[in-house]
Amino acid sequence: MIKIQKEDFNSEEEINNIKKLYSNVGAITSFIGYVRDKNNNNKVQSINLEVYKDMAYKQLEKIITKARSKWNLIDCLIIHRYGKLNINSKIVFVTCFSEHRNDSFESCNFIMDYLKKDAPFWKNEFYDKKNEWLINSN
């Protein structure tokens, strides 16, 4: 499932809503990305996250399909927020559900790699007196 939303989310509830569908899930790996207080030696005040929503859904679906072809995935959840986000806010949540640990770990890392490379989101970081559009390094 893919959710692109402004709102915060509760990771425990999001996981339970999916976990309760599958009694064969033995392993869940989750990644949460946050807005940090500093970046490149600048003190961050907040970020504004812009998204091309239609394309983001399409590209994230593709990434999940690719992950499913490589690992035994029972289910998968991606939540990506957009809009104004203060420091300490969650930005992204990727959770992979599988029978065994290795599948959930590797697919979660794989999805994060491709999300950072292909998903059409752009961070505009606000500092004390300026702002800057970021570029992912990978």
């Binding site: 812009e50 998204v51 394309m55 590209q59 990506h80 989101f121 752009w122 961070k123 559009w133 992912n136």
Partner: protein, 81 residues
């Protein structure tokens, strides 16, 4: 066709969306030429291969034909996650 601009590209074009209807702009290369003539500040970014293009929500690198109801997006490298 509908053209969408994102992030700092949008700051150069001054709007996030426009409709272009010309029978002559029938492939992506022609659209690129049209865009940099309309927004000369975009030229250096196109030359430096910083601009990304998507047609109907998929990345496109090669030149491809464009149709009237296509949605083309122009944007800089992404920074999500």
């Amino acid at each position: 066709m509908k053209i969408k601009y994102f992030a700092w590209i949008k700051e150069i074009t001054s709007h996030e969306e426009e409709q272009i209807d010309s029978n002559e702009i029938n492939n992506l290369d022609k659209l690129k030429i049209f865009i940099i003539s309309k927004y000369p500040d975009l030229k250096k970014h196109l030359d430096q291969e910083i601009l990304r293009f998507a047609v109907n929500q998929d990345y496109v690198v090669e030149n491809i034909d464009l149709n009237k109801d296509d949605e083309i997006a122009v944007f800089p490298p992404v920074s999500g996650g």
